[in-house]
Symmetry: C2
Subunit: 577 residues, 2 copies
């Protein structure tokens, strides 16, 4: 059996250790600078690879990451494994039921957000292949298909993270974006796998062109129907056995590797197999949170950093950086995606401001585009320059997504949420023990001061809450709904010192419950109110103080008190009714 | 950069997938048969490797696990990585403070349990090197040192698992065994690393013989003092940062890889570096349970099965199996370890029955001996036949450990615990909200019916509880202590319908609390009472029924009711006082 010698083992562990340590360091730094950690992880690779360290001290790079020999092969194998496991996690996070629940707007945004950039990319690549850096001897059709895909896949993990950072993940807007991105991912990868099938990995034992693409589609159809059904039935059986959680962990990983081997054998890269397995197994509610979390944590903090940092080792980013190409790719990518999503949102009745916010959220490409670009580079479909441009495009679109959404939401003078509070809808001691009772109590209070029936309010808010819980972090929950005939937003507020479980993102019980009713025709009011509430309650001390109040005026004084968070929104403390 | 071609990627994922799936399957099967899962995992490799599948269908083995080429190298690299991470987890589980707390008996058992088998092994290997399968051209001293080590290292994970299966993990005996095994591991690995340093990996760029061994010792001393201190200070700083848990996970893994690279460079195998890092970082209570659990789960169910299964791929177990050698190794190993521990236990005042039980618990070699054997095989210190014998010895000692302990404990007619119950020490409704209050209440009740002061009882039981909590699974807790002047065991029983947190192994609150007082001079009574209580409460329905009783007679009727669990201990239902 071929084995590594001691020197190669030293090289391997040194390379892995240095790569992981730097990737994690710069990943944390990126987070600290409010950027997705993938930005920092890729930078670590660029720093350690031929681009920077290779220019300054080429001998060091050759020592750390030799281009040949056993340790180089092991590093390549390990990063391929890392990629496959990263896609497994991406697949597990795809929750198909979310898509169906979001219905029309999500479908509209998603489909239009794929078709539009795909067509723009396809046309551009078809007519200007040389300008865009087509690989040598690549079929123009394959290149055009790839370029279309490269512009149309959104980056679900980056988008989810951005929305969480902005505290919009559990808003209506957030749900539409996530659902659309999920569908987007699924369709995008399927199209890409068919494209790769068309390249057919000629000569390396793969199958023929059409059969590869055909098999990929059959495999996908199988995994999303029968495979999904089977897994949903096998999991509870496994979990009933003794070593439940760990057993399922090993089972999932083994299946992911085997599915990867199968799709790689089809000629469409191992990552599709594990991605589809992830979708199929992640969809089963029998896959426990603990198992998901263990896989996700280990992959996110061990395998993924290794993979993303290794990208920088493969290509000299300075040498292959082409200003013109990068600008073109960036412009085409942004126009295609933003316009596509904007149109889709409009057609399905989303209001303009929210539609813009959705479009910029969807514009983030992040990790996925880079994965796709790397595969295309390895298959020889694209030039190294185009790969560098795609990486830059992916990073830039991810980085501008958050600020763009914030900018759009803040275009008009933001109202403070307290102007929608009502003395009669302030319940200083909720009797409710769960969120459904809390919603009922607050519905009654709001019904008393509006001309809307309590059961209508309760039904609307409950229906919304059932789709996705509204517990924010730090003890605040914001159940809400759009109510047709309401003239302006109304907010009821209830306190629960014992806490009510609103399934909050930080796992804490909610103590301050804002129930927000928004007019059906209001554009973006919910987002502004959300943002304002979140900002106001960033300081946990405020929550503590507020919970002690039983007087409405005292509450207003506390909420109106100048605090450092106010500076962004301005002092706009309108007189509450 | 050297990359794998598509064919090699298919082979790699197929090999990994098949290996992991079979290892997990047979691992679960072994557990089902009440054996350590490592037995099943190794069997999976023997089945898939040259021993069985290679004899039946050699082409399949060559297809799945080619002996040369890129995928073979990657598999070797990955299993080396797996080994290093497995030792990281083993190191994290070494809790040095447990050793100090257990004091004399643990020290005695541990030191005598290392020195005795080491000397026997050393002498045997020194005088009969050819008989025991010394590698060609290996220094007799090195071989003798290695063979001594190979007989003296216990397998902490296997021992812990055996004790948990027998429900003895939290007994006094369990604590002594665990503490002794920890110290054993630490000393054994240090000696082995010095031995490996003496081989010096001549010719592959390692350092000189003495400097390698010296550096290993310096590194160990550094990690266990300054390194430990540093990590203990860095962890809370890191955890205060945003992505706490995941950040620490990545940090730990990166450090483990770097420490591995360093010790490999010294010439003493990468696993020492990660083992020592594990000891140093695991000792800090700042390393959160969640992080430990994530690393442990992923390593135990992904990396470890891959490593153990890969052992079977390296050696043909049938071809190199030598009956005579195996029997000799097994006999020497058992005599050395059992006699050594038995003597150590005797010298430190442990009673005979418990001393035998401790000795057989320590006799389990399991995973550690195999790791050590594999390293020695790779360094050419031992022949393939000796390696096979060591693997068999490790498996057999692990498999007989549990039954042997059970046999020793059950030698005399077991008393049923209910004969030690007292009507006056039955508290159907404890007022206590935590375990300390429960201990106080039961101490008072037991003091009333004995001639021992309540504060004496409370102090003894509390002291014992502070060393290690006594919550068993399924809602039962067994706080206990040895009390000098007691003529016979006494048991108080208290119910807490609301549940009291006794830090039980399954995380559940305890509802039925048995407080057990044992005479200082009683040999093994505590173990028998433990075993009887555990057996009686295997059925959760009994707990439910019992909690409803408030009458002492009703309670006795329920406990005396014939149930299938009784058959093992017999009906011995003596009249309770």
């Amino acid at each position: 059996m071929a084995v590594l010698n001691s020197h190669e083992i030293v090289a391997m562990f040194l390379a892995l250790g240095v790569l992981l340590a730097s990737a994690r360091f710069f990943g944390e730094l990126a987070k600290y600078l409010r950027q997705p950690s993938v930005v920092g992880e890729i930078f670590a690779g660029i720093l350690l690879g031929p681009t920077i360290l290779g220019t300054v001290a080429p001998a060091w790079v050759e020592f750390l990451f030799p281009r040949g020999g056993g340790s180089a092969l092991v590093l390549d194998g390990l990063t391929t494994l890392a990629l496959v496991l990263f896609l497994l996690v991406a697949g597990i996070e795809v929750d198909l039921s979310t898509v169906w629940r979001q219905g029309k707007p999500a479908m509209g945004v998603s489909i239009s957000g794929i078709v539009f950039p795909f067509i723009i990319g396809f046309v551009a690549a078809w007519f200007f292949p040389a300008l865009l850096g087509r690989g040598e001897a690549v079929d123009p059709l394959v290149f055009a298909l790839f370029f279309g895909c490269a512009l149309s896949i959104s980056a679900l993990p980056v988008i989810a993270k951005t929305l969480m950072d902005l505290n919009l993940y559990r808003s209506d807007l957030g749900m539409i974006v996530i659902a659309a991105a999920i569908l987007n991912d699924l369709v995008g990868w399927l199209v890409f796998s068919v494209t790769l099938g068309m390249i057919g990995t000629a000569g390396t034992g793969g199958l023929g062109i059409l059969s590869a693409a055909g098999l990929a589609l059959v495999f996908a159809a199988f995994m999303l129907t029968i495979g999904r059904w089977l897994l949903h039935r096998i999991l509870p059986w496994m979990q009933a056995r003794k070593s439940g959680a760990g057993g399922v962990l090993g089972f999932t990983l083994a299946l992911a590797l085997l599915c990867g081997a199968m799709t790689e054998w089809f000629g469409v890269h191992a990552l599709f197999g594990s991605f589809l397995l992830g979708v199929a197994i992640g969809d089963s509610f029998h896959l426990r949170e603990h198992t998901r979390e263990t896989i996700k944590q280990f992959v996110s903090f061990f395998f993924a950093p290794l993979f993303f940092a290794s990208i920088g080792l493969r290509v000299n980013f300075a040498l292959h950086f082409d200003w013109g190409l990068t600008v073109i790719v960036l412009v085409i990518a942004c126009i295609g995606k933003v316009a596509g999503c904007r149109l889709g949102a409009k057609w399905t009745g989303v209001f303009p401001r929210e539609a813009w916010a959705i479009s910029f959220a969807m514009n983030a490409r992040g990790a996925m585009e880079i994965v796709l670009g790397l595969v295309a580079l390895q298959f020889g479909v694209i030039s190294e320059s185009l790969f560098v441009s795609l990486v830059v495009m992916a990073l830039v679109t991810s980085m501008i997504s958050g600020p763009a959404i914030q900018g759009i939401i803040r275009q008009r003078v933001p109202p403070r949420f307290i102007q929608y509070l009502h003395r009669q809808a302030f319940l200083s001691r909720l009797r409710a023990r769960d969120r459904w009772e809390a919603i009922r109590e607050l519905s009654q209070a709001l019904a008393d001061i509006s001309n809307i029936r309590a059961d209508v309010i309760e039904a609307a808010v409950t229906a919304r809450e059932q789709i996705m819980s509204t517990g924010l972090s730090k003890g605040v929950a914001v159940p809400h709904a759009r109510i047709e005939p309401l003239p302006r937003p109304m907010i009821g507020i209830g306190f629960s010192p014992a806490g009510i479980d609103f399934d909050a993102s930080d796992g804490e019980a909610s103590h301050v419950i804002f129930m927000i009713l928004i007019p059906k025709m209001d554009d973006g009011a919910a987002l502004l109110i959300f943002a304002d509430i979140t900002k106001t309650f960033q300081d946990p001390e405020l929550t503590q103080k507020i919970l002690q109040t039983t007087e409405y005026n005292e509450l207003l004084t506390l909420l109106n008190a100048p605090n450092p968070m106010d500076r962004v929104t301005g002092p706009g403390t309108a007189a509450p009714t």
